[in-house]
Amino acid sequence: MNTINIIAFFLVFFFRKPRRGDLPPIKWYPVLNAIAVAAVVVSILNYSVDKEYRILTSLLAVFPIAGLTYLVLTKPEFEGKKQVLYAWLPIIGIEIIKDLVELIFPVFYAKRADYFEIAGIFALIWAIAMWINNGKQAKKLEKDRLIAIERERELEITAKLKAELEVQVTERTAELLSQKEELEKALENLKSTQDQLIHAEKMASLGELTAGIAHEIQNPLNFVNNFSEVSNELIAELVEERAKDPSVRDESLVEELLADIKDNLSKINIHGKRADGIVKGMLQHSRNNSGQKEFTDINELADEYLRLSYHGLRAKDKSFNADFKLDLDPALPKMEIVPQDIGRVILNLINNGFYAVSEKKQGLAIQGNSEHASYKPTVWVKTKKLDRGIEIRIRDNGNGIPADIKAKIFQPFFTTKPAGKGTGLGLSMSYEIITKGHNGQLSVESVPSEYTEFIIILT
């Protein structure tokens, strides 16, 4: 009977020890201790009592082990230790049965003692097998546990990485957003700079025009003033003549004076309209929005801008002089164009022409070239009706355009003028106006040191 109590006693200590990684089952220490004490007490009792009381102590001896079994099987704290209990249960059972049979049926027990011996051996084999198996399982569990810990650590690392990534993504997104905003801002700036440049170019060409405009307005205004003054004088003369006696009155003079006054009034009107047209043209030229297309007399436009350009340059530079020749086709049909845009192109090309011829003249003077005296700086403006559409040719006998530059002249910001003298936008804007704004063609022909001719074709 002592075997099971010894087993119970040691199992208690085994169960008290926590499995690796678990908390010790402190909660059950008192119970376990009680079971150990009970096992010891029952063992001592078993030895000390007489044989006839053995039956009682043997029954008592079942309780400690039964209590321990119950505890281990039912309480979750001992979940990992059940295997050990299973290993021992057959031995415990066989011991209990053996003891009880020995006590109650001593004759039967003496006869069949070898059966119990065999059962005891099997139970021992079972226990050893379970013990080996348990060891394996424990190792496997330990391995699994380590793997699980490893996995958990990996998961933790992954989660940390994920969090870091998320932060990075957020940062990157913010960065990209701000970059996008910056780019949009830059684009906006560029657009407004472009607008400003276009406006500056317009204003620059208007600046070039100002003196010409002043002259072109001053002239008709002078005529308006002069003709009105002279008309007043004529009227005074008329009144004087009419005051005379009809017998001496010179009727032919009266008729002549009246005709002159009428003539003068229409001249005042013509010159007033001329000034009016120039102011309107100037306003149109400086206007920022792209204008409406309207049927326009291009001959008139070419004439007007040629004069503006010429007088503008004359007024600005006293030493400037050049001749210009207009060859306008009277059969030229009116074209549907944006007058201020085409006017700007014509003006730009004429200005370039005048610039080219004065450059050549100055160049010849500096070189002391004998050609200087005979060179006649001239700009030609020619219009012609084509089978389809019209052609405007603006030619100068300046230095011409070298072949290597010819391809670049329509590029924005390309200029051969010294810094501050040209924006480099005139020709590129002209090209844009003709090709994109009017579906026309703008081309250039040039022979270096002989001539340059720009050809506009509108259909």
Binding site: N226, F227, V230, L234, K267, H311, N321, D323
Partner: protein
């Protein structure tokens, strides 16, 4: 009879002068001829030898030959002919160039016909 030449690329100048000097022309004291460019002016002057024109009034701002260039040429070829300038630009640069090239007077536009008339009347009476 005093013959004067007026040079200006604006054709209405002729009408204006003819009306202004109607009386003088009528009375036969004055004869007006007009040219609309420097070249034309030189052509008019070389029509007669010696030229009948005694006084040239020229605009400065003209395409081709300017009034100042014409002044030099006239003074070169016909030193006896008086030349006065009429310009919309009364700046000192033009004035000095004109005067140093031998211009008699320098009138600014709009033309003050009273002073112009005085100049011409003086010319007529001198003769």
């Amino acid at each position: 009879m005093t013959k004067i030449l007026i040079v200006d690329d604006e054709r209405d100048v002729e009408t204006l002068f003819r009306q202004k000097f109607r009386k003088e022309v009528r009375s036969g004291d004055l004869e007006l001829v007009f040219a609309f460019s420097g070249d034309e002016a030189l052509q008019v002057l070389s029509e007669d030898d010696p030229p009948e024109v005694v006084y040239v009034f020229s605009d400065i701002n003209m395409p081709g030959m300017t009034g100042l260039e014409l002044l030099k040429k006239v003074k070169d070829k016909f030193p006896l002919i008086n030349v006065s300038m009429i310009s919309a630009y009364g700046d000192t640069e033009n004035y000095q160039k004109a005067m140093s090239s031998g211009a008699k007077e320098f009138f600014t536009k709009p033309i003050d016909f009273d002073s112009l008339k005085r100049e011409i009347v003086e010319l007529i009476t001198k003769k």
